[in-house]
Symmetry: C2
């Protein structure tokens, strides 16, 4: 089994080529979690995730002949990007889109690998890759002393296997807690069954850790070094992404935000402790981000849709919009309907979507509408 | 006039309380600008902007009696937050919302200041504040050697006055370039008129630098130390915010993104140089961010709306949506209309908003619609 020395050697190998990402104190998350919270921002790595560490260590360990033949990787994105970057330093790799999910992609890559005699770089189940990922743990130890516990996302287990080994072999007193999405808790299931199992396929915003089967190398390391595994759901991940963006000014992908979500939503019993939270990646599609922001605003009451009954005659909208303007709510969308939503004949129903300052502002707004004799209800 | 020694003294004073923000290399922006580009990420400062530096230095220089009486600040947000944070370390300040713009707010603050005998902490026109902001320049000098030029946002001029002094008094060979929004180019106007002028009021997404009149202390320092001032427009700022988010994984407010916008949109002649770009703040409302993302997606062709003529009978939408689904475009909104947009009788017109992969994908999509005999046009 891999040990601390391998990780230290990986560190020497990759140190000059990897960004030593900040490990920064967060006042907001310290207050929210009741701990002293630090974020390890590996989403700021050049390709936007920690995956460069393992990929580069693996590539630097290839023989001249293996390098000559070339490498191949299968990935949801981060690992392949990291391999391409490490191999070419210019993303000059062939990118082939195959498969509807990681398993199909992986099968296709293995087939091509055999046909063209390439070296397959596994995203997690490879000792050189795990040792590379472990350097993230060594950096955290160098950057902050006195940590009580660290929270690390788990997909296939490559990151946590390396990081947990680095921590536990240096200081066994530091707790290492893994975090998975509740949609694909493959490592947690393996732990509960005391053996690797395959969990059903599922869609998750944490696509970077959507791995159905724990690794054969990573699972024993997790058993040896990891204290606990907790899960977070989709809403919890989304709220962590939004809070990291608003308060920490940092962009995090779903998988990368799982450890933060676990701390934020009190999945761990720690209070008054010094916590290291790994933010493992930032490669999120901005379209998805825009949806997460919008849902978050609706949830916080900063965006609200009211369905309002309106007399169907000229000028009716002037009066209604005056009431709304007086409350300083900003209308961003309206839609009229005469025939639906139980509108009585001669009335129309209008859905008004508005930006507000939150629940108190919405209460003022609905009170003002009621005072002006409008029948309104909130659309969820 | 303020000199380097004041800034060095400020550094000693505030060093332990201020986050030494990362000054990081960006491969993406190096390629896009044809230079070697580094970002100074002061948006990661505790209150989300560089303003803490000046506010803290000022507060630490107050006499015991001044501290006892209390302080007051007027601000679009960042400066007041920084003052409150520095004064109380827990945001325990009274926050009073007065005025429709900075000038009105400032007048109200000065009035209350006189009434209650408080110490007014000016956001930029104060030597202690300027010296504090200058520490950002000293940090950049410590963090990266060999810089050819630095780009710094300008509002009232407090940041650039301090930073330019720090650079020029240390190494006059480093060019210092200021960046303003074209909506409120008050410092640029002062330079052109060789005297302070007040520019007309204007709305800008760079609200943090929406200052109509340059400072009486900052203007002479800008004249002495700053090599050039360039301006960027609203679209350029928005695209910089989006690119900083997508590529650098960092959240930047409008004012904070102006220096990046100047580099990105080639407002400076530099090529092959080592550039330091100051990202001065990250306090942007996520509602505004969501709009910037959406507009950016439309501009990039990753979000498109097509107006399509459709026969008005059952099943018509099935056939249309099959054509769209075959092209793997994701429909996110539709709206039907029978009577407008020049629909012939018996036809309906549908606006379909879709997520796409960009211009090539849109071309494929419209070709497929044409092949299936649909009349369509793009809605801008």
């Amino acid at each position: 089994m891999l040990n601390l020395r391998h990780i230290q050697e990986a560190m020497v190998r990759i140190r000059d080529s990897i960004f030593v990402s900040p490990f920064v104190y967060s006042e907001t998350f310290s207050q929210l979690t009741g701990n002293t919270a630090f974020f390890k921002l590996d989403n700021l790595q050049m390709t936007g995730s920690f995956k460069e560490r393992g990929a580069l260590n693996k590539i630097l360990l290839l023989t001249a002949e293996e390098k000559q033949r070339g490498v191949i990787a299968a990935s949801a994105g981060n690992h392949a990007q990291a391999v391409a970057y490490s191999a070419t330093r210019g993303y000059g790799a062939d990118v082939i889109l195959v498969g509807a999910n990681y398993d199909e992609t992986c099968d296709a890559a293995l087939k091509r690998c055999a046909e063209q005699d390439l070296t397959f770089i596994h995203p997690f189940d490879d000792e050189a890759v795990i040792a590379g990922q472990g350097t993230l743990g060594l950096e955290m130890l160098e950057q902050q002393s006195g940590l009580d516990a660290v929270l690390v996302p788990i997909g296939g287990g490559g990151l946590i296997a390396g990081v947990a080994c680095a921590f536990k072999e240096t200081n066994p007193g530091i707790q290492v807690i893994g975090v998975q999405t509740s949609k694909l808790p493959s490592m947690k299931a393996a732990r509960e069954h005391n053996g690797i199992v395959t969990v059903p396929t599922a869609k998750t915003i944490a696509d970077g850790i959507a791995v159905r089967t724990a690794g054969t190398l990573t699972f024993p390391m997790v058993q040896k070094y990891v204290d606990d595994i907790v899960v977070v759901d989709e809403e919890e991940i989304a709220s962590a992404i939004l809070l990291l963006l608003e308060k920490e000014k940092t962009l995090t992908e779903g998988a990368g935000a799982t450890a933060t979500a676990a701390a934020l939503h009190k999945k761990i019993p720690h209070r008054g402790k010094k916590l290291g939270i790994v933010n493992s990646g930032g490669n999120i599609d901005v379209t998805l981000l825009s949806r997460i922001i919008e849902r978050g605003l609706v949830k916080d009451g900063r965006l609200v849709r009211l369905r309002i009954h309106l007399p169907d005659h000229p000028g009716a909208l002037v009066r209604l919009s005056t009431v709304i303007a007086d409350q300083k709510a900003n209308i961003i969308q309206t839609s009229h309907d005469r025939a639906y939503y139980g509108a009585v004949l001669g009335d129309t129903v209008i859905d008004v979507t508005m930006e507000t300052r939150g629940p108190d502002h919405i209460a003022d707004l609905t009170a003002a509408l009621e005072a002006a004799n409008y029948l309104s209800e909130r659309v969820q």
